[in-house]
Symmetry: C2
Subunit: 205 residues, 2 copies
């Protein structure tokens, strides 16, 4: 029976390592789709990367999406505003310095909680935050917040080459487009989304 | 010993279901980063969804990214051109009908092959295809190709509500932005990317 117990333990061990996200477990389960603000905040809190879109200065004003890492705060302490660590060697930061209009797009799909449904199925939540991509003032209190938020979720960033002159950016949110169920996008204002009561997602389940 | 065999079988079963992509296994392993065209084609072949960016007519010309499913062909028979199944009830198709400029952004990260590196690490490949988002002519040969390509990879699409008037769209690629290693974007033309020799990724490894 010892072998049986060992194999049972092995099974539990293997199953325990089946993480829904590459690299980390989801810390909060998906909110009720009826709660639009909580669902949007959850997508921002649990995703570590997204597609940041700008108006391309190199490609005659085409909309240009770029894969970026972001963070809205320490794990489970996010405030909803996405911060980025970008270099003007990359088109996204360069574009934003000429035209601040931008959007950040996130999907529930890579979190592993959509199951077998299609990534475009409306019950697999998706979010687009539209607004202005702005540089965070160097050495400000907000820059300290951004640094801690980003370097905690993305420890590699600490080592990124100084010569590339990475800077902290944030998306000032003006509009939210959230689909998390049938029936079209959910009405959701930046005020509802950024409301301090949303800072504890555990209470919002 | 029967219980032991059963548990061993169970373990194998559990491990067998640990797929690197949600829903399907990668059919081709990652090409050498030195081969830009093969890497770009691999990202398009293996990803089932991405972020499709348009110039928003509702949000005063802001760049608007939307999570969409796509397909460039049957599994292992992709041709590199991404096809979509969109409804004008959604902002993306509506935008494209007013301004065709668009980009599709993909990341290697959700494929599960980036390991422990950050999603923004340049060795975790990312691709932005920029061009024109066009309606595929109804009942044309290309529409048949698009339908087969999409409905095979996204079987759910067959059941999407007729009343939403979904149509096939494609991205006519004019520019490629690929990062798959240190040293900035890889030079890659649409001709190199769409070259017929790229239609068999197994040969390009």
């Amino acid at each position: 029976m010892e072998i049986v117990s060992f194999l049972a333990f092995l099974c539990i061990l293997i199953m325990g390592f089946q993480e829904p996200v590459h690299g980390r477990l989801l810390s909060v389960s998906k909110p009720n789709p009826g709660n639009a603000a909580a669902t949007a905040r959850w997508l921002v809190a649990e995703n570590s990367w997204g597609v940041l879109n700008t108006i391309s200065s190199e490609l005659n004003g085409a909309p240009f999406g770029n894969v970026v890492s972001f963070s809205d705060g320490l794990p489970n302490e996010g405030k909803g505003i996405p911060y980025f660590y970008l270099t003007a060697l990359d088109p996204t930061a360069k574009d934003a310095m000429k035209d601040e209009r931008a959007s950040l797009t996130l999907s529930e799909y890579p979190l592993g909680t959509c199951g077998k449904i299609d990534p475009e199925n409306p019950t697999c939540a998706k979010l687009t935050l539209t607004g202005k991509l702005k540089i965070v003032e160097n050495k400000s209190e907000e820059a300290q917040f951004a640094q801690k938020a980003l370097f905690t979720k993305h420890p590699e960033m600490k080592e990124w080459p100084k010569s590339h002159k990475f800077q902290f950016f944030k998306l000032e949110i003006e509009n939210l487009f959230l689909i998390d169920w049938f029936g079209g996008p959910k009405p959701l204002t930046p005020e509802e989304y950024l409301h301090p009561k949303m800072n504890n997602l555990h209470w919002m389940q």
